[in-house]
Symmetry: C2
Subunit: 404 residues, 2 copies
Amino acid sequence: MYQLNENYQKLPGSYLFSTIAKKVAAFTEANPDKPIIRLGIGDVTQPIIPAVIQALHKAVDEMAYADSFRGYAPDLGYDFLRSAIAEHDYRQRGCDITADEIFVSDGAKSDSSSIQEIFSVDCKIAVTDPVYPVYVDSNVMAGRCGEYDSSSQMWSNVIYMPCVRENGFVPEFPKETPDLIYLCLPNNPTGTTITKSQLQAWVDYANAHGCVIIYDGAYEAYIAEADVAHSIYECAGAKNCAVEIRSFSKNAGFTGVRLGFTVVPKELKCAGVSLHTMWARRHGTKYNGAPYIIQRAGEAVYSGEGKAQLKEQIAYYMKNASAIKTGLKEAGYEVYGGVNAPYIWLKTPHAMSSWEFFDEMLEKANVVGTPGSGFGPSGEGYFRLTAFGSYENTVAALERIRQL
Amino acid sequence: MYQLNENYQKLPGSYLFSTIAKKVAAFTEANPDKPIIRLGIGDVTQPIIPAVIQALHKAVDEMAYADSFRGYAPDLGYDFLRSAIAEHDYRQRGCDITADEIFVSDGAKSDSSSIQEIFSVDCKIAVTDPVYPVYVDSNVMAGRCGEYDSSSQMWSNVIYMPCVRENGFVPEFPKETPDLIYLCLPNNPTGTTITKSQLQAWVDYANAHGCVIIYDGAYEAYIAEADVAHSIYECAGAKNCAVEIRSFSKNAGFTGVRLGFTVVPKELKCAGVSLHTMWARRHGTKYNGAPYIIQRAGEAVYSGEGKAQLKEQIAYYMKNASAIKTGLKEAGYEVYGGVNAPYIWLKTPHAMSSWEFFDEMLEKANVVGTPGSGFGPSGEGYFRLTAFGSYENTVAALERIRQL
């Protein structure tokens, strides 16, 4: 009789967003006259820019004729896209990353959950706390995380690095040395980030201690401050210790279009074995490339027209972020993030729990956010609002919160 | 110091298609006056049908406006596509499969390589031999296959079920009971298949012995004979023992469009644990859904217009298959497949090895095929030709082979 992967049974239910949905549904049923404004989920709302729409139509037309039809894409991505990424995201920022170090994929979720596969099951992971749940869950499935303790909401074999107001949301080097360090900067859910020199210290730590940093740069496009790195490869030595995962979801609104990439530098080796070769083998065996038309959409993101149109889109969301931040501050709340990221991280007042605050916001302001405790134990007492709504809804939500 | 997944180091180089490419390049350089015809790779050449092109353009336009823009897709697929699949691929064939048992993905390669994740690493796999390399390689990466013996070209912990002319390419029940049985029917690379009653015997075997069948039906659209099942769920009891993986690559030419799905019936349980729930959790954690516009393309495959246009496309390729089969037979070759599948499996004459025959075909006929030994030890002495070329090229290739 076959047996199942028992690690899956260790995962606690993924209750966060389903609990939110149930609470919202119950409220709406009881209060049909009170329209809800949702600033909870990290999904974009602005349409795809004209430059990308045009590229999509053109690529669709190419697929309609035998002469221009494209079958299987290269496993690792079309050169036109890999070259555009290398040029615009790396070389223009002074990072020595070449097109063949870039692996095109269907998105950062796939890559950030699968990258652990190329490492030993004995590797110990470290995560910031609170954190995007995929890093830990994918390692639980692989058997790296030990057992879950429901009272502490922690896994026995995971190193947690709290990011809270007391340390300015800057993770501290852990007492125990990890093997793999997950860093998402600018951060989801806190919306905070660290300076380039603070990131350099992490690169130096990883090189000194024999760690790999899995660097998730999904929110890079929102960076506004000059002393924040847009890529970990701006730091000296990063090519020897870091993998970088990037997404088109938040810089170009591709959450429903699906495109991302991972950089694995050729210098990254463990006892002489190239991680680049391993990740290429993984792609070659388990992936068949992103759709041709979607890769053409990605290419258009880097055109002059595309860049200009996306600058406006990012500005639109960051205007929301600014409105939320200012509005909440004026209403007396303690607020973080929202400067280099589309997330606002709010300290709940009067020592309320994240869920108590969620209920109050829902019932009194009819605004939906995300309880911080859903992202990890150190998220307790915090609450996340996103800048991805429409400006009108964002302003209306703030007005309601101010009137509480 | 972090360590790597040592199972990756066990994989022998993936030399098949790179060796072919090198040999072809060398020949072309030495013989620039002799144009090559390629009937080796299983990639389609006909353009995407008009009904799908139209659906793609429409979906692209929807993404251009805030009112119709779609962000994150449901992890498991849009209901419009899952419902169309359930209706057309299952209920219309008398299979009791519901929309919520269908998991939409970016293709059969992803699913057939990832499905092993939900099983214990102690599970032992059985594969037909020759076989699509992804099944074994993905299990090697997970640590299930033991050690590779380069002389036998076999893994120590894999059960091989030879499919050769002596047994009519019908796999026999193995002496040792496996946990997971991979069946690709109609088969890649042999182009052969088994009858519905033979498939029923496999379902009965799996239920009697506590096995799960991973059924890859990527070539279902090419089935021409009445006594061949289009889905394993046409067999009684299959919902208790089988997962079915399907693709849009070969029925609709989506090799570069990327869409597929996996069926995990709710009845499929191991000691009370639902495999459906586990696969849903896997999707939710490691995948973010197929692109909206691609899912709309998939929906169009099931429209009246789409079905009619694809029937023509399949007929086009099967006309090629028939021409290859007839032509080779007339030239005195022993030929299999090509009736319910787009592959022709040829026994090499005069006890030539697969590679010797490859060289002869390349040098004398300037035709490229695939050596059978590249698909497994029982593929030695065979050679694969595909029906996916243009009709003109296919006929020209046959003419050259006949003149050998």
